[in-house]
């Protein structure tokens, strides 16, 4: 009699080809039919509830399309706000600085957009909201430390607060727009979705500051510009946790 090949043979090595008592136990659980009466009643209840409210729905677009929409909202919010406030920062940056900063912004924004788009639908792949947040929170300080000089703390708070406020003021409406997009899908993990969208909204604030703010002191950019992303993401995460807890109760 041929020995049955176990699905877990890739993890079990040659032992997997032996009949396994664990497999027997699990197979018994798998093949045990549920109680017929309970199942029939459950099916009837589900059918009654669902068939009474059956309406045609249009399937949501692909993850790529949704991610593109998120990315467009991010880019529009950053550019419109940056241009409206005046692109003073963009003019003082060198070509290399511009290329590196905006390319990095685009890369992190793509990661956050894909994470947001994935969180809109069940079983859409690994969630990357926390990855996008960590990438932004660690990557940008490193990049700014490489590009800029100046660690004097004189006027640090005085010069920084307006940047933080302006960044958060851009991040908030961007976050609300992203939330509208997010609501078109069905979010299972609110915290993860909020972290992804909060990071993306914060990145819009950061991009606006890079276009607008002419202060190129490393300490200012690292502390106050990056803080916009952190504040936005953490705020979104906290609100999502609160909403989740309330809805579970």
């Amino acid at each position: 009699m041929p020995i049955a090949r176990c699905e877990l043979c890739w993890v079990e090595g040659r032992n997997a080809l032996k009949p396994d008592p664990i497999d027997d136990l699990l197979a018994k659980a798998a093949n045990r039919p549920p109680d017929d009466a309970a199942l029939a009643a459950g099916v009837r209840r589900a059918q009654d509830a669902i068939l009474g409210d059956l309406r045609r729905v249009r399937p949501l677009g692909s993850v790529t399309r949704s991610a593109l929409l998120f990315l467009i909202v991010f880019a529009l919010a950053a550019m419109v706000a940056g241009v409206l406030l005046g692109p003073h920062g963009f003019h003082v940056l060198s070509v290399v600085d511009r290329a590196l900063i905006f390319a990095t912004l685009l890369v992190v924004a793509v990661v956050a957009s894909v994470a947001s788009a994935r969180s809109m639908r069940p079983a859409a792949g690994p969630k990357r909201g926390s990855d996008a947040f960590l990438l932004a929170a660690i990557g940008f300080p490193l990049l700014f430390a490489l590009l800029f000089r100046g660690y004097s703390t004189i006027h640090l708070v005085h010069e920084g607060i307006p940047c933080l406020v302006a960044g958060v003021c851009v991040a908030l409406p961007t976050g609300l727009l992203l939330l509208l997009l997010l609501r078109r899908g069905s979010v299972l993990d609110r915290s993860e979705a909020a972290l992804a969208c909060g990071t993306l909204a914060g990145l819009a604030g950061l991009a606006m500051l890079e276009i607008h703010c002419p202060n190129l002191k490393a300490i200012h950019v690292i502390v106050w510009h990056v803080a916009v992303v952190v504040v936005s993401a953490v705020l979104a995460w906290v609100i999502a946790r609160f909403v989740s807890r309330s809805s579970v109760q």
Binding site: L39, I50, L54, G185, S186, Q249
Partner: protein, 216 residues
């Protein structure tokens, strides 16, 4: 050999053969005593459900409910509320039905929703338990209805961390493939393999110890 149609339920089980321990559950086999090739597959039923086809929705619910109920019944924490959890999952599936796209596997999508329903239920019961007031005389617990095998399985699975337990149950009881489990748990195939490997190692150690005890 009978041809297997892509995406059909027959394929859902057939692609795990030969060698998987999972066989088509008896109640499903009984329900499908007709030629399995003539049965509509889950994907076309889901499409019909999205298009408000009542017959398709009805068959879809009949087809998926046993799988969902078993998923909840096999988890000790959810067993008591399995019926309610199945209903709650169906409500969520109904609300989220527009998020499924043709060409994507249906079962991982369903199990992702079921998994979150189960998690929310667990959180809710935890929260309620912390606010409960202990009564002086505890009521008699209901007599256990679980068989010896279920108790064995429960004892063994209780030793596993929740994430490993979930992977083993989805792989071996619900019958999903590694890629499908990865989709359902928002993880990667590598992570699923690693969890399954660790779970099997732990289970094998526990079984080995138990056998030694019995021999002694």
């Amino acid at each position: 050999m009978r041809p297997v149609h892509a995406g059909s339920r027959s394929k859902l089980y057939a692609d795990r053969l030969p060698g998987t321990i999972l066989q088509e559950p008896p109640h499903l086999s009984a329900a499908s005593s007709r030629d399995p090739a003539s049965l509509p597959d889950l994907e076309s039923l889901m499409c019909g459900y999205q298009q408000a086809d009542e017959a398709a929705a009805r068959v879809f619910i009949e087809r998926v409910s046993p799988v969902l109920l078993r998923y909840f019944l096999v988890q000790p924490l959810n067993r008591r509320f399995a019926d309610d959890l199945m209903q709650e999952t169906w409500m969520r599936i109904h609300k989220a039905r527009h998020t499924w796209r043709r060409g994507e596997p249906v079962l991982p999508w369903i199990f992702a929703i079921a998994r979150h329903t189960s998690l929310d239920s667990y959180r809710k019961s935890r929260r309620v338990e912390t606010r409960e007031i202990q009564v002086e005389v505890m009521p008699e617990p209901p007599a256990s209805t679980s068989s010896g095998d279920t108790a064995d399985l429960d004892t063994l699975l209780a030793a596993l961390p929740a994430s490993q337990r979930e992977v083993v149950l989805l792989l071996k009881v619900s019958g999903l493939s590694v890629d499908e489990v990865a989709r359902a748990t928002a993880s990667t195939a590598g992570a699923v393999r690693q969890k399954a490997h660790r779970a099997y190692r732990t289970l094998r150690t526990l079984l080995g110890r138990r056998e030694k005890r019995v021999e002694a």
